[in-house]
């Protein structure tokens, strides 16, 4: 009886560690990424090899699993933010402000999605700003306000409830190359929480 118990305990632990640990760690590396496959600059994270034919296995699995068709990171880089600059989860219960500056030489796009990558319905039918559509301050900066209800200036609606993510796409080969090496190449906008309900 004692030997059977020993065998069962060992089998159970083996299965738990081998399958649970193996699949769990793979899921984490594919979904969240690590320093092997991503670079983090403040709240922004980029899969620096996304879209490249020589991408690492984690990046390949990440793009396949999430049904992404990324542009090669030698040309364009996509940054995702799930949190504000202080580490709080982005939620539509709060208002946020982004100041975009120093990206004058790049074409960029900033869009808000729910956590599954879907657009969030809003009466204004506004889902993104680009470097072409954003209104600028006299000094060239662009201040974008993320809020549930209408705000003056560059207002980007963030849905009626729940968490959301921001995607910043930068089309700038020099910056993409710098990010691949670990440097942001330019100042990415901070995401400041303004107020919460």
């Amino acid at each position: 009886m004692s030997r059977l118990r020993t065998l069962l305990v060992n089998l159970a632990v083996f299965a738990l560690v081998a399958v649970g640990g193996g699949l769990g760690s793979a899921w984490y590396m594919i979904e969240a990424g690590s320093q092997l496959s991503t670079r983090t600059f403040g709240p922004w994270t980029a899969w620096t090899a996304a879209g490249r034919p020589d991408a690492d296995p984690y990046t390949r699995a990440h793009t396949t699993r999430n049904a992404l068709l990324p542009i090669s990171s030698t040309l364009e880089l996509t940054y995702k933010a799930r949190t504000d600059s202080r580490g709080g989860k982005l939620t539509s219960a709060c208002d946020y402000a982004l100041v975009v500056e120093g990206l004058d030489s790049s074409w960029w796009n900033l869009a808000a999605y729910d956590t599954r990558g879907r657009l969030m319905a809003n009466a204004a039918e506004r889902y993104a700003f680009t470097s072409d559509t954003v209104m600028r301050e006299p000094d060239g900066r662009a201040i974008i306000t993320l809020a549930r209800d209408a705000r003056p200036g560059n207002w980007l609606p963030i849905g009626g409830g729940g968490r959301f993510v921001l995607i910043l796409t930068l089309q700038d080969a020099a910056m993409a190359s710098a990010a691949y090496e670990g440097a942001p190449g330019a100042k990415l906008p901070a995401i400041e929480r303004v107020a919460c309900r």
Binding site: R5, T6, V9, N10, V13, F14, L16, V17, A18, V19, G21, G22, L23, S25, A26, W27, M29, I30, G51, R52, P53, A55, P57, Y58, R60, A61, T63, T64, R65, N66, A67, L68, L69, P70, I71, S72, L75, E76, W107, N109, A111, Y113, R116, G117, R118, L119, M120, A121, E125, Y127, A128, T130, S131, D132, T133, I167, T169, Q171
Partner: protein, 199 residues
Amino acid sequence: MTTAASLTLPLKAPRWLDALGWRTLAGALLAAGIVHILATLAVPLLGAGSGFARLRQDLPANRMVVWPPSAPGKEPLPFLMPDALYAVCHYDLAHDSLRVAVTLAHAGWLLSLHSAGGENFYAMPAQPLHHDQVSLTLVPGGEKVEFVPQPRRVGGPEANVASPTTEGLVIVRAPLKGLAWRQDAEAILRHASCTPVPR
């Protein structure tokens, strides 16, 4: 004076831990590593939920299709850039090569070629100081092809691009500066083409 032997842990380890051998733990960690590697490599190979797999069913082969701008509940793919029009061609090089002709009219416009695995093996952004018409011929990778001479449909430099897979996607992304530009952008995208070329 306190000795190591006299120190006691505040919590007792569960009894079943006594039955656990170090060999089991070492073997389990090794097996976990193997499962980790196999799972990571399997995801792109299975690829059932990949971007290409999702679009392949709905797109005719070797024909350019213009999508309307994404709207909530009508996104062809997750995290697709909104406020942009897309022209997409599902290419199949099993029999013919493919001539792609597009116009990249404004900053932010982009032509990209993706293999069935999702890799972006070619991309051409709009370049304000250069010709905005792009023409290229997509050929199967590693295959030497003799082309039938044909008149060019558009101006600008023309190149052969080898596709690493027989099937894939040609995507033209046209960000909109505003509603006023939509008609103009749609008209330009409707002229984008992907046409089979005998080889």
